[in-house]
């Protein structure tokens, strides 16, 4: 059973109206359990829309989305995935531990079980000492780690992430990437990861899905030929640069209206 199975998916916004947008056309994609897949492409290519269709936060115009072998909506009702956004989206009026417990509260877990799980998750993201803190007392990177802990609190098999590190500085960002990979390795979670950064996509992923806009579709899927175990040395390897080049060339094909694609060394972003 695949983690995610998208077949012949189409999404049209404002169908039949003057401002009709073909957000996604004929998308098919299968993600295996434990696999890390990034969606990359210029603004308006529909990568966030695809993520929200997988999350069943949007409904497809046509086509099928299956998550963990169920229709996407059922998977959402069963909380078969966790989600993290560019904004950590923590609740200011809840402590760090209470933020992590939120999805468990909604599942109806009792207090003792919730507390135990929150502590386990805090240990996983190495924030054990901050359980009683409020979100605004933490740095941006720490907030994002809490958001990841919250997304994984119910031990979902799938993690959906929409540019989760987009608001972080470069150093925190690289640190968070390594952290995310070790968490996923420890939990066996599959990940669909939306990003604007080529080095980020390559460093994290088994496969990079390159998308193009107007209408949104998949132009190429790049297999990243690197050992699964990634570390600081990974960023120095020739295969890393080779994969970056392949993704950049695939993106160049999508070049519409002067979109700037980032350079090799800095993960320069196009927004």
């Amino acid at each position: 059973m695949s983690a995610v199975n998208v077949s012949q998916l189409n999404k049209v916004f404002n169908e039949g109206k003057a401002n009709q947008v073909d957000a996604l056309v004929d998308i098919s994609l299968t993600i295996e359990p434990g696999e890390f897949v990034s969606l990359i492409g210029p603004s308006g290519c529909g990568k966030s829309t695809l993520l929200r269709l997988i999350a069943s936060l949007l409904t497809p115009t046509s086509g099928e989305v299956e998550v963990a072998g169920k229709p996407a909506k059922q998977a959402r009702l069963d909380q078969d995935y966790g989600m993290a956004f560019q904004q950590a989206g923590l609740f200011d009026w809840r402590t760090v531990a209470k933020n992590i417990e939120l999805p468990l509260e909604l599942k109806g877990w009792d207090k003792a079980k919730r507390t135990a799980r929150a502590n386990e998750m805090l240990e996983l993201v190495r924030l054990d000492d901050f359980a009683g803190h409020y979100p605004w007392q933490l740095s941006g990177g720490m907030q994002q780690r809490v958001a990841i802990a919250r997304a994984l609190a119910a031990h979902p098999p799938l993690l959906l992430m929409d540019e989760p590190f987009g608001a972080l500085d470069e150093m925190t960002r690289e640190h968070m990437q390594a952290e995310l990979l070790s968490i996923c390795a420890a939990t066996g979670t599959s990940v669909v990861f939306v990003t604007h950064s080529i080095p980020e996509a390559v460093y994290l992923s088994n496969r990079v899905v390159v998308m193009s806009p107007r209408p949104g579709r998949i132009t190429q899927i790049v297999n990243v030929d690197l050992p699964r175990e990634r570390n600081e040395d990974t960023r120095e390897r020739p295969e890393f640069y080779a994969a970056i080049t392949t993704v950049r060339e695939a993106l160049r094909g999508t070049h519409v209206g002067g979109i700037h694609v980032g350079g090799i060394h800095g993960g320069v972003e196009d927004r």
Binding site: L57, R76, Q87, W93, Q143
Partner: protein, 261 residues
């Protein structure tokens, strides 16, 4: 917000206040201002201590009106904001009207209300206060209930949370700081409305009516003494709203507004 050096914050306004009163006192003598023009602070204070019992009684009348109106207005305002945030079209219909009414000095309505009740009734004044408070609370709390972070709503939907769970876990906590903002505005407004309501007839028992009657009798310093009482009452209401806010917000969690991180 932690361990502020007290003297640095308290001393300058205190010194300024004392200097201002001293200057006022001196100006009355230096420029030989007539008592009907401006009474010196020493005389006002004398009147204040001399008439303290009367001022206290009048404060109780105005304060009770303000308090009951504040309470009723807050309860109805909160209730209505829930209705408006639940039925958005109704909200879109009513909110602009509420904001527009808020800008009008509607306390003049008290003259109309006075005609509806017996001449000695305090009810028109209390209704007036609650109307003023009601709109302030309604507009602010409705904003807190509806203007939640889109990320929070998406997150809750990803948890398959019901509309009532979103209300309990996102909208209501988000609206709490807005409620206290509304209270900080409406507590002094309630006191002001209670005074002004007394200018439109009815029993001559509150601070507002005592100020006018003393001025009518050329008892300028006594009028000022009642003004001082009115200031203290307004300050007390404001202080209570701040104490309530501190009591209701978790340990040091007071942020400016219901913004997300």
């Amino acid at each position: 917000m932690f361990r502020r050096p007290r003297a640095r914050y308290v001393l300058p306004p205190l010194v300024f206040g004392i200097a201002f009163i001293a200057w006022w006192e001196a100006a009355v003598y230096i420029f030989n201002l007539k008592p009907y023009f401006l009474a010196p602070p020493s005389k006002i204070w004398g009147q204040f201590t001399e008439n303290f019992g009367l001022i206290w009684d009048a404060s109780k009348v105005s304060g009770t009106n303000a308090f009951i109106g504040l309470l009723a207005g807050t309860i109805f305002g909160i209730a209505m904001s829930f209705v408006l945030s639940r039925y958005r079209t109704l909200g879109e219909l009513v909110t602009p009207l509420a904001i527009a009414l808020n800008a009008v000095p509607i306390f003049v309505l008290v003259a109309v209300l006075n005609n509806m009740y017996s001449i000695t009734s305090e009810i028109p004044r209390r209704i007036m206060v609650s109307l003023v408070v009601y709109f302030i609370v309604l507009v602010n709390v409705a904003k807190g209930l509806t203007q939640v972070s889109p990320t929070h709503v998406e997150l809750m939907r990803s948890y398959a949370a019901s509309e009532s769970a979103i209300l309990r876990k996102v909208r209501i906590p988000n609206a709490v700081p807005y409620l206290f903002t509304a209270l900080k505005i409406s507590a002094p407004a309630a006191v002001i409305t209670a005074f002004v309501s007394e200018y439109f007839g009815g029993s001559q028992n509150g601070l507002g009516s005592r100020i006018t009657s003393n001025i009518a009798n050329s008892k300028n310093a006594a009028a000022w003494a009642y003004v001082l009482g009115a200031c203290l009452l307004g300050l007390m209401f404001y202080l209570f709203s701040i104490i309530a806010e501190n009591a209701a917000t978790p340990n040091g969690a007071q942020k400016d507004s219901g913004r997300s991180s």
